[in-house]
Amino acid sequence: MSILAWTWVIVGLSFALYIGIAFWAKAKSTGEFYVAAKQVHPVLNGMATGADWMSAASFISMAGLISFLGRDGSMYLMGWTGGYVLLAMLLAPYLRKYGKYTVPMFVGERYYSNAARVVAVVCAIFVSFTYVAGQMRGVGVVFSRFLEVPINTGVMIGMAIVFIYAVMGGMKGITYTQVAQYCVLIVAYMIPAIFISIMLTGNPIPQLGYGSSVSAGGAEILKDASAQGQHLLDVLNKIQMDLGFTAYTAGGSKSTIDVFAITFALMVGTAGLPHIIIRFFTTPTIRGARASAGWALLFIAILYTTAPAVASFARINMIKTLHNEEYAHAPSWFKNWEKTGLIIWADKNGDGIMQFGKGNAFIGGKPNKEKDNLDMKSPNELQIDRDIMVLANPEIAKLPSWVVALVAAGGLAAALSTAAGLLLVIASAFSHDLLKNVVAKNMNEKQELIAARIAAGGAVMVAGYFGIHPPGFVAQVVAFAFGLAASSFFPVIILGIFWKRASKEGAMLGMLSGIGFTAAYIIYFKFMNPPAFNVAANWLWGISPEGIGTIGMLINFAVCIVVSMITKEPPKQVQDMVESLRYPREIA
């Protein structure tokens, strides 16, 4: 069977599975729709959280990003996992004890203010929509690359699938499809990684493989007999330095303070993302919520410790097999992916040999339509899209066609599962926090369930619209969703749990000043000034817009604490509620 046929079969089977689960897990009450009736086993919730968390970006783009950044790329690995430690110890058990349905609802009740709740609703919707548009686009991209359908048709198919299981099953349907999606995506990620590790080092565990020595077979693949028996990373460092790059295992592309700030903003942002927080509302017990965070991180870490291995293997394989190779003898995967435009060779010196090196093949790092805007200042002749590091993996490892198909299904699973989690946050913010709480307080259970389904359906439509017509700012803003979450939700939730004195005035001014500062800094550098201005010399303390959420978070904390000290303390029943969050059992 051809790759295309395999892909249709495997993607079709995975979609049939998701829809089957949707019928089995139909939501019958608002409790089931918002929090899966709090009946999700901690291990399953861990898997669902893993799929919820790992988006198209984690699955397709992260390894490529790391392979280009070397050690500095670790900020994504640490930043996108470290937040779970904060979630497990500072948020999950207490919010589970609170036991209600949404993050804005907690903010509203803890800060005894509907205004605070509305501010939280706006933050939640803004963060979630910027994120979900990227996911829908990701679905379209995977469809177009693997199934040869137009991107927009791919987005529509993705919308239809999410529509069925999100609208019918709500949180319950989403949870169990996410469990299935986790299984699909992790198998799809691990199989090529394991085989490449065996090919290059003989070690079947990729996490250890990239710290081992190159095997005899590996040296043959890399076309470098002298590499045999040497540490793979030493070989990679040497070739990097020969080509004028910094060593792969050394930092250097970013300053220490910036790496620090970005990592921190990603960690705290993770712990402040509403679609992740609400996953911990679904476990039956507080014990379960704590354990669930551990399971989630374990399942995530399986992929996140494999990604840097994939990054190193792809990097060394790419340089060794392409650099100084005659174009006529290029490997077959190179020829296949050349057709997609993800990898382009421009013969600057006309010698028929591909040269890789520092700098861009094309001016500005992007070819124009005629592909004649060559950057003659750099010897580099290869324009390589980072996503190819994961997408071309099965072909590089010469794996059978069904593995290629599995990678397509994995990419779709990653994108769809994240999209569904975000859509539920948007739907519940509308139906529960705005409609039920502010507009139509007398709604009964049945009416609210219908409203929630309509809100979920509407959110799918809007997300699909953004997927088909991506606004120019989405790609830039997604990276900042973390900074905005870090500087808005995280401080007020933490203070709300750990400090009874935190008042509504403090929380509102804290959220507004934190998110206001962060958004203003990002807008100033990303939208109001030319890219050339966005450099370390102009940044506050050398912190880039990606890392500024860390400062925004500190401002939020400081403002909330100072204002709370000089305003009236919260009413007795609120302080009693905060006290009760601390103990798993109800203490009279």
């Binding site: 050690r71 670790s74 900020m75 690995l77 640490m78 996992t81 470290g82 779970y84 430690v85 904060l86 497990a88 110890m89 500072l90 058990p93 996490q207 250890l208 710290g211 081992s212 020595s213 540490h231 990373l233 295992t249 050394a250 930092g251 220490t256 790496v259 620090f260 990592t263 921190f264 017990t285 507080i286 014990r287 704590r290 354990a291 965070a293 551990g294 991180l297 374990l298 870490a301 996140y304 410790t305 840097p308 601390r582 103990y583 798993p584 059992r585 203490i587």
Partner: protein, 86 residues
């Protein structure tokens, strides 16, 4: 009022656990993986330069262990102070 004092002891034990575990969390990622990564790179672990390993894999593995330890400690603490769920 003995029960009140017990709850206070429970809460301060919880805070102590969290502070200790978060100190480790901070050390393995920010101190070992970022601030002193270059210095640690002269040592090796599992075939990796040490600073690179903490940044690339080590901190993630230790994060998982930290949550595991926290869960064990808190489940025992809940029972010791009789605040566990029934």
């Amino acid at each position: 009022m003995t029960q009140q004092r017990d709850l206070k002891a429970y809460w301060s034990a919880n805070i102590t656990y969290v502070l200790i575990l978060l100190t480790v969390w901070f050390c393995v990622s920010y101190v070992f993986g970022i601030i002193f990564a270059d210095q640690l790179d002269s040592f090796h672990i599992l075939g990796f330069p040490m600073g690179f390993w903490f940044a690339n894999q080590g901190s993630e593995v230790i994060f998982v262990l930290l949550i595991l330890i926290y869960v064990k400690l808190m489940n025992a603490l809940d029972i010791k102070f009789d605040v566990h769920e029934q």
